[in-house]
Symmetry: C2
Subunit: 144 residues, 2 copies
Amino acid sequence: VTSLLDRLRAQGWRLTPQRRAVATILDGEHVHLTAEQVLAGARRVVPELSQATVYNTLNELVAMGEVNEVRVKGTASQYDPNVGDRHHHLVCHSCGMVYDVHPVGIDDLALARDERHGFSLDEVEVTFRGICSSCAERGAATRA
Amino acid sequence: VTSLLDRLRAQGWRLTPQRRAVATILDGEHVHLTAEQVLAGARRVVPELSQATVYNTLNELVAMGEVNEVRVKGTASQYDPNVGDRHHHLVCHSCGMVYDVHPVGIDDLALARDERHGFSLDEVEVTFRGICSSCAERGAATRA
DNA sequence: TTGCTTGCAAAGCATTTGCAAGAGC
DNA sequence: GCTCTTGCAAATGCTTTGCAAGCAA
Protein backbone atom coordinates (compact mmCIF):
# COMPACT_ATOMS: atom_id res chain seq x y z
CA VAL A 1 0.00 0.00 0.00
CA THR A 2 2.59 2.54 -1.10
CA SER A 3 1.44 6.07 -1.65
CA LEU A 4 1.21 7.61 -5.06
CA LEU A 5 4.08 9.93 -4.19
CA ASP A 6 6.28 7.03 -3.18
CA ARG A 7 5.60 5.22 -6.38
CA LEU A 8 6.40 8.33 -8.39
CA ARG A 9 9.61 8.89 -6.52
CA ALA A 10 10.54 5.26 -7.11
CA GLN A 11 10.18 5.84 -10.82
CA GLY A 12 12.61 8.72 -10.62
CA TRP A 13 9.91 11.22 -11.40
CA ARG A 14 11.24 14.72 -11.11
CA LEU A 15 9.54 16.20 -8.09
CA THR A 16 8.42 19.81 -7.87
CA PRO A 17 6.06 21.57 -5.48
CA GLN A 18 3.44 21.73 -8.22
CA ARG A 19 3.63 18.04 -8.99
CA ARG A 20 3.62 17.13 -5.35
CA ALA A 21 0.48 19.18 -4.80
CA VAL A 22 -1.31 17.51 -7.70
CA ALA A 23 -0.27 14.02 -6.66
CA THR A 24 -1.32 14.66 -3.08
CA ILE A 25 -4.78 15.79 -4.09
CA LEU A 26 -5.27 12.69 -6.18
CA ASP A 27 -3.95 10.22 -3.66
CA GLY A 28 -7.25 9.53 -1.95
CA GLU A 29 -9.48 6.56 -2.36
CA HIS A 30 -12.18 6.24 -4.94
CA VAL A 31 -11.88 9.89 -5.88
CA HIS A 32 -12.85 11.20 -9.27
CA LEU A 33 -11.77 14.75 -9.89
CA THR A 34 -11.85 17.03 -12.89
CA ALA A 35 -8.76 18.97 -13.91
CA GLU A 36 -10.49 22.04 -12.57
CA GLN A 37 -11.04 20.45 -9.17
CA VAL A 38 -7.47 19.27 -9.04
CA LEU A 39 -6.31 22.78 -9.87
CA ALA A 40 -8.50 24.31 -7.18
CA GLY A 41 -7.39 21.81 -4.57
CA ALA A 42 -3.71 21.97 -5.39
CA ARG A 43 -3.77 25.76 -5.40
CA ARG A 44 -4.60 25.72 -1.74
CA VAL A 45 -1.04 24.51 -1.33
CA VAL A 46 0.66 26.11 -4.31
CA PRO A 47 -1.38 29.18 -5.23
CA GLU A 48 0.65 30.07 -8.30
CA LEU A 49 -0.03 26.69 -9.91
CA SER A 50 -1.20 27.04 -13.51
CA GLN A 51 -3.76 25.00 -15.28
CA ALA A 52 -1.29 24.08 -17.99
CA THR A 53 0.85 22.40 -15.38
CA VAL A 54 -2.12 20.54 -14.00
CA TYR A 55 -2.96 19.22 -17.44
CA ASN A 56 0.65 18.32 -18.12
CA THR A 57 0.94 16.52 -14.84
CA LEU A 58 -2.33 14.67 -15.17
CA ASN A 59 -1.41 13.51 -18.64
CA GLU A 60 1.89 12.23 -17.38
CA LEU A 61 0.28 10.34 -14.55
CA VAL A 62 -2.12 8.79 -17.00
CA ALA A 63 0.72 7.84 -19.34
CA MET A 64 2.58 6.28 -16.41
CA GLY A 65 -0.49 4.26 -15.59
CA GLU A 66 -0.85 5.78 -12.14
CA VAL A 67 -4.15 7.49 -12.86
CA ASN A 68 -7.11 6.67 -15.04
CA GLU A 69 -8.84 9.22 -17.17
CA VAL A 70 -12.60 8.79 -17.29
CA ARG A 71 -14.35 10.57 -20.09
CA VAL A 72 -18.04 11.23 -19.75
CA LYS A 73 -19.95 12.82 -22.60
CA GLY A 74 -20.65 16.48 -22.11
CA THR A 75 -18.34 16.92 -19.14
CA ALA A 76 -14.67 17.47 -18.54
CA SER A 77 -12.48 14.41 -18.00
CA GLN A 78 -12.40 12.96 -14.54
CA TYR A 79 -9.18 11.61 -13.10
CA ASP A 80 -9.25 8.50 -11.03
CA PRO A 81 -6.17 7.52 -9.00
CA ASN A 82 -7.64 4.26 -7.81
CA VAL A 83 -5.44 2.14 -10.04
CA GLY A 84 -4.15 -1.13 -8.64
CA ASP A 85 -7.60 -2.09 -7.56
CA ARG A 86 -8.83 -3.13 -11.01
CA HIS A 87 -12.23 -1.59 -11.20
CA HIS A 88 -14.80 -0.41 -13.65
CA HIS A 89 -17.35 2.36 -13.74
CA LEU A 90 -20.97 3.14 -13.14
CA VAL A 91 -22.02 6.43 -14.70
CA CYS A 92 -25.19 8.47 -14.28
CA HIS A 93 -26.06 9.79 -17.67
CA SER A 94 -28.04 12.59 -16.17
CA CYS A 95 -25.50 14.20 -13.85
CA GLY A 96 -22.29 12.48 -14.94
CA MET A 97 -21.49 11.14 -11.47
CA VAL A 98 -19.08 8.20 -11.59
CA TYR A 99 -18.78 5.31 -9.14
CA ASP A 100 -16.16 2.59 -9.06
CA VAL A 101 -17.58 -0.90 -9.35
CA HIS A 102 -16.41 -4.50 -9.57
CA PRO A 103 -18.69 -6.33 -11.99
CA VAL A 104 -19.45 -10.01 -11.61
CA GLY A 105 -18.34 -12.20 -14.51
CA ILE A 106 -15.70 -9.88 -15.78
CA ASP A 107 -13.01 -12.52 -15.76
CA ASP A 108 -14.92 -14.57 -18.27
CA LEU A 109 -15.26 -11.71 -20.70
CA ALA A 110 -13.28 -12.37 -23.85
CA LEU A 111 -12.95 -11.68 -27.52
CA ALA A 112 -13.00 -14.61 -29.91
CA ARG A 113 -9.93 -14.90 -32.11
CA ASP A 114 -11.84 -13.95 -35.23
CA GLU A 115 -13.04 -10.77 -33.59
CA ARG A 116 -9.65 -9.52 -32.57
CA HIS A 117 -8.89 -8.00 -35.95
CA GLY A 118 -5.19 -8.61 -35.42
CA PHE A 119 -5.05 -6.43 -32.34
CA SER A 120 -2.72 -7.04 -29.50
CA LEU A 121 -5.14 -6.50 -26.64
CA ASP A 122 -4.20 -4.95 -23.36
CA GLU A 123 -7.27 -3.63 -21.65
CA VAL A 124 -10.96 -4.23 -21.15
CA GLU A 125 -13.15 -1.57 -19.74
CA VAL A 126 -16.73 -1.99 -18.66
CA THR A 127 -19.09 0.91 -18.13
CA PHE A 128 -22.55 0.58 -16.65
CA ARG A 129 -24.91 3.44 -17.28
CA GLY A 130 -28.15 4.45 -15.69
CA ILE A 131 -29.82 7.08 -13.58
CA CYS A 132 -28.63 7.66 -10.04
CA SER A 133 -31.17 7.94 -7.26
CA SER A 134 -30.79 11.71 -6.80
CA CYS A 135 -31.47 12.36 -10.46
CA ALA A 136 -34.33 9.87 -10.48
CA GLU A 137 -35.95 11.67 -7.53
CA ARG A 138 -36.04 15.00 -9.19
CA GLY A 139 -37.69 13.33 -12.16
CA ALA A 140 -34.71 13.35 -14.42
CA ALA A 141 -35.67 12.82 -18.01
CA THR A 142 -32.83 15.18 -18.73
CA ARG A 143 -30.33 13.81 -21.19
CA ALA A 144 -27.75 16.53 -20.87
CA VAL B 1 -34.27 -5.23 -41.66
CA THR B 2 -35.87 -1.84 -42.12
CA SER B 3 -33.68 1.00 -43.26
CA LEU B 4 -32.74 3.84 -40.99
CA LEU B 5 -34.82 6.20 -43.09
CA ASP B 6 -37.86 3.98 -42.76
CA ARG B 7 -37.49 3.84 -39.03
CA LEU B 8 -37.17 7.60 -38.84
CA ARG B 9 -40.21 8.11 -41.01
CA ALA B 10 -42.12 5.67 -38.82
CA GLN B 11 -41.33 7.81 -35.83
CA GLY B 12 -42.80 10.83 -37.56
CA TRP B 13 -39.41 12.46 -37.87
CA ARG B 14 -39.64 15.59 -39.93
CA LEU B 15 -37.81 14.84 -43.15
CA THR B 16 -35.69 17.37 -44.98
CA PRO B 17 -33.10 16.98 -47.73
CA GLN B 18 -30.34 17.66 -45.20
CA ARG B 19 -31.57 15.04 -42.77
CA ARG B 20 -32.13 12.54 -45.51
CA ALA B 21 -28.57 13.03 -46.71
CA VAL B 22 -27.16 12.51 -43.24
CA ALA B 23 -29.27 9.45 -42.56
CA THR B 24 -28.34 7.93 -45.90
CA ILE B 25 -24.64 8.32 -45.28
CA LEU B 26 -24.95 6.60 -41.94
CA ASP B 27 -27.12 3.76 -43.08
CA GLY B 28 -24.36 1.36 -43.96
CA GLU B 29 -23.08 -1.56 -41.97
CA HIS B 30 -20.43 -1.36 -39.33
CA VAL B 31 -19.55 2.17 -40.29
CA HIS B 32 -17.99 4.62 -37.87
CA LEU B 33 -17.89 8.16 -39.13
CA THR B 34 -16.91 11.45 -37.62
CA ALA B 35 -19.15 14.49 -37.92
CA GLU B 36 -16.68 15.84 -40.43
CA GLN B 37 -16.91 12.72 -42.59
CA VAL B 38 -20.67 12.76 -42.41
CA LEU B 39 -20.63 16.40 -43.48
CA ALA B 40 -18.32 15.71 -46.39
CA GLY B 41 -20.32 12.72 -47.54
CA ALA B 42 -23.71 14.35 -47.20
CA ARG B 43 -22.53 17.45 -49.02
CA ARG B 44 -22.02 15.40 -52.14
CA VAL B 45 -25.80 15.26 -52.20
CA VAL B 46 -26.71 18.53 -50.49
CA PRO B 47 -23.79 20.91 -51.00
CA GLU B 48 -25.21 23.73 -48.92
CA LEU B 49 -25.46 21.50 -45.84
CA SER B 50 -23.96 23.18 -42.78
CA GLN B 51 -21.99 21.57 -40.02
CA ALA B 52 -24.40 22.89 -37.42
CA THR B 53 -27.15 20.88 -39.06
CA VAL B 54 -24.98 17.80 -39.14
CA TYR B 55 -24.32 18.11 -35.42
CA ASN B 56 -27.96 18.78 -34.68
CA THR B 57 -29.04 15.81 -36.71
CA LEU B 58 -26.45 13.47 -35.26
CA ASN B 59 -27.41 14.47 -31.75
CA GLU B 60 -31.03 13.80 -32.51
CA LEU B 61 -30.29 10.40 -33.94
CA VAL B 62 -28.28 9.60 -30.84
CA ALA B 63 -31.10 10.79 -28.59
CA MET B 64 -33.55 8.66 -30.55
CA GLY B 65 -31.31 5.67 -30.04
CA GLU B 66 -30.78 5.15 -33.74
CA VAL B 67 -27.09 5.91 -33.69
CA ASN B 68 -24.36 5.40 -31.13
CA GLU B 69 -21.78 8.01 -30.37
CA VAL B 70 -18.34 6.59 -29.73
CA ARG B 71 -15.92 8.88 -28.00
CA VAL B 72 -12.25 8.14 -28.31
CA LYS B 73 -9.72 10.22 -26.45
CA GLY B 74 -7.98 12.78 -28.59
CA THR B 75 -10.27 12.40 -31.57
CA ALA B 76 -13.64 13.69 -32.66
CA SER B 77 -16.69 11.58 -31.83
CA GLN B 78 -17.47 8.74 -34.16
CA TYR B 79 -21.05 7.90 -35.04
CA ASP B 80 -22.09 4.32 -35.34
CA PRO B 81 -25.46 3.48 -36.90
CA ASN B 82 -25.17 -0.23 -36.27
CA VAL B 83 -27.72 -0.24 -33.48
CA GLY B 84 -30.04 -3.21 -33.26
CA ASP B 85 -27.16 -5.57 -33.44
CA ARG B 86 -26.04 -5.18 -29.83
CA HIS B 87 -22.34 -4.83 -30.09
CA HIS B 88 -19.35 -3.43 -28.29
CA HIS B 89 -16.07 -1.87 -29.34
CA LEU B 90 -12.45 -2.60 -29.94
CA VAL B 91 -10.34 0.55 -30.06
CA CYS B 92 -6.75 1.06 -31.15
CA HIS B 93 -5.26 3.51 -28.74
CA SER B 94 -2.64 4.51 -31.24
CA CYS B 95 -4.76 5.49 -34.21
CA GLY B 96 -8.25 5.57 -32.70
CA MET B 97 -9.68 3.05 -35.16
CA VAL B 98 -12.85 1.40 -33.85
CA TYR B 99 -14.21 -2.07 -34.67
CA ASP B 100 -17.52 -3.56 -33.63
CA VAL B 101 -17.18 -6.74 -31.62
CA HIS B 102 -19.36 -9.27 -29.81
CA PRO B 103 -17.58 -10.31 -26.64
CA VAL B 104 -17.99 -13.76 -25.17
CA GLY B 105 -19.49 -13.88 -21.69
CA ILE B 106 -21.20 -10.55 -21.88
CA ASP B 107 -24.58 -11.92 -20.87
CA ASP B 108 -23.18 -13.01 -17.54
CA LEU B 109 -21.79 -9.61 -16.73
CA ALA B 110 -23.63 -8.04 -13.81
CA LEU B 111 -23.43 -5.65 -10.94
CA ALA B 112 -24.09 -6.95 -7.44
CA ARG B 113 -26.93 -5.23 -5.63
CA ASP B 114 -24.57 -3.55 -3.18
CA GLU B 115 -22.58 -2.05 -6.03
CA ARG B 116 -25.52 -0.47 -7.77
CA HIS B 117 -25.53 2.62 -5.59
CA GLY B 118 -29.26 2.98 -6.05
CA PHE B 119 -28.98 3.37 -9.80
CA SER B 120 -31.59 2.21 -12.20
CA LEU B 121 -29.35 0.57 -14.78
CA ASP B 122 -30.04 0.60 -18.46
CA GLU B 123 -26.85 -0.06 -20.33
CA VAL B 124 -23.57 -1.91 -20.20
CA GLU B 125 -20.79 -1.03 -22.53
CA VAL B 126 -17.59 -2.97 -23.00
CA THR B 127 -14.53 -1.53 -24.65
CA PHE B 128 -11.47 -3.54 -25.54
CA ARG B 129 -8.30 -1.58 -26.14
CA GLY B 130 -5.05 -2.49 -27.78
CA ILE B 131 -2.84 -1.81 -30.74
CA CYS B 132 -4.05 -2.65 -34.21
CA SER B 133 -1.78 -4.51 -36.58
CA SER B 134 -1.03 -1.51 -38.80
CA CYS B 135 0.09 0.57 -35.84
CA ALA B 136 2.08 -2.34 -34.43
CA GLU B 137 3.92 -2.73 -37.73
CA ARG B 138 5.13 0.79 -37.85
CA GLY B 139 6.43 0.32 -34.34
CA ALA B 140 3.77 2.28 -32.60
CA ALA B 141 4.79 3.23 -29.11
CA THR B 142 2.88 6.38 -29.86
CA ARG B 143 0.28 7.21 -27.26
CA ALA B 144 -1.38 10.05 -29.11
C1' DT C 1 -50.29 28.45 -41.83
C1' DT C 2 -47.14 27.50 -38.06
C1' DG C 3 -43.72 25.72 -35.81
C1' DC C 4 -39.68 23.06 -36.73
C1' DT C 5 -35.18 23.36 -39.46
C1' DT C 6 -31.48 25.59 -41.60
C1' DG C 7 -27.32 28.35 -42.41
C1' DC C 8 -24.17 31.49 -40.87
C1' DA C 9 -20.96 33.10 -37.90
C1' DA C 10 -19.68 33.72 -33.45
C1' DA C 11 -19.32 31.79 -29.01
C1' DG C 12 -18.03 28.14 -25.73
C1' DC C 13 -15.22 24.93 -23.40
C1' DA C 14 -11.75 21.78 -22.33
C1' DT C 15 -7.31 21.04 -23.46
C1' DT C 16 -2.78 21.99 -25.70
C1' DT C 17 1.16 24.67 -27.06
C1' DG C 18 5.17 28.17 -27.70
C1' DC C 19 8.39 30.37 -25.41
C1' DA C 20 11.20 32.54 -22.02
C1' DA C 21 12.12 32.34 -17.16
C1' DG C 22 12.82 29.29 -13.33
C1' DA C 23 13.92 25.04 -10.67
C1' DG C 24 15.44 20.11 -9.74
C1' DC C 25 19.18 16.82 -9.49
C1' DG D 1 25.09 23.25 -15.49
C1' DC D 2 22.12 21.14 -18.15
C1' DT D 3 17.72 19.71 -18.74
C1' DC D 4 13.27 19.40 -17.51
C1' DT D 5 9.30 22.08 -15.68
C1' DT D 6 6.47 26.17 -15.15
C1' DG D 7 3.51 30.09 -16.13
C1' DC D 8 1.35 32.92 -19.17
C1' DA D 9 -1.52 33.73 -22.78
C1' DA D 10 -2.83 32.60 -27.08
C1' DA D 11 -4.19 28.93 -30.03
C1' DT D 12 -6.61 24.76 -31.09
C1' DG D 13 -10.38 21.69 -32.25
C1' DC D 14 -14.74 20.06 -31.57
C1' DT D 15 -19.21 21.23 -30.66
C1' DT D 16 -23.01 24.37 -29.54
C1' DT D 17 -25.81 28.47 -29.99
C1' DG D 18 -28.49 32.88 -31.43
C1' DC D 19 -31.05 34.56 -34.78
C1' DA D 20 -33.38 35.52 -39.04
C1' DA D 21 -34.93 33.26 -43.15
C1' DG D 22 -36.81 28.97 -45.20
C1' DC D 23 -39.46 24.94 -45.58
C1' DA D 24 -42.18 20.52 -44.27
C1' DA D 25 -46.55 18.99 -43.14
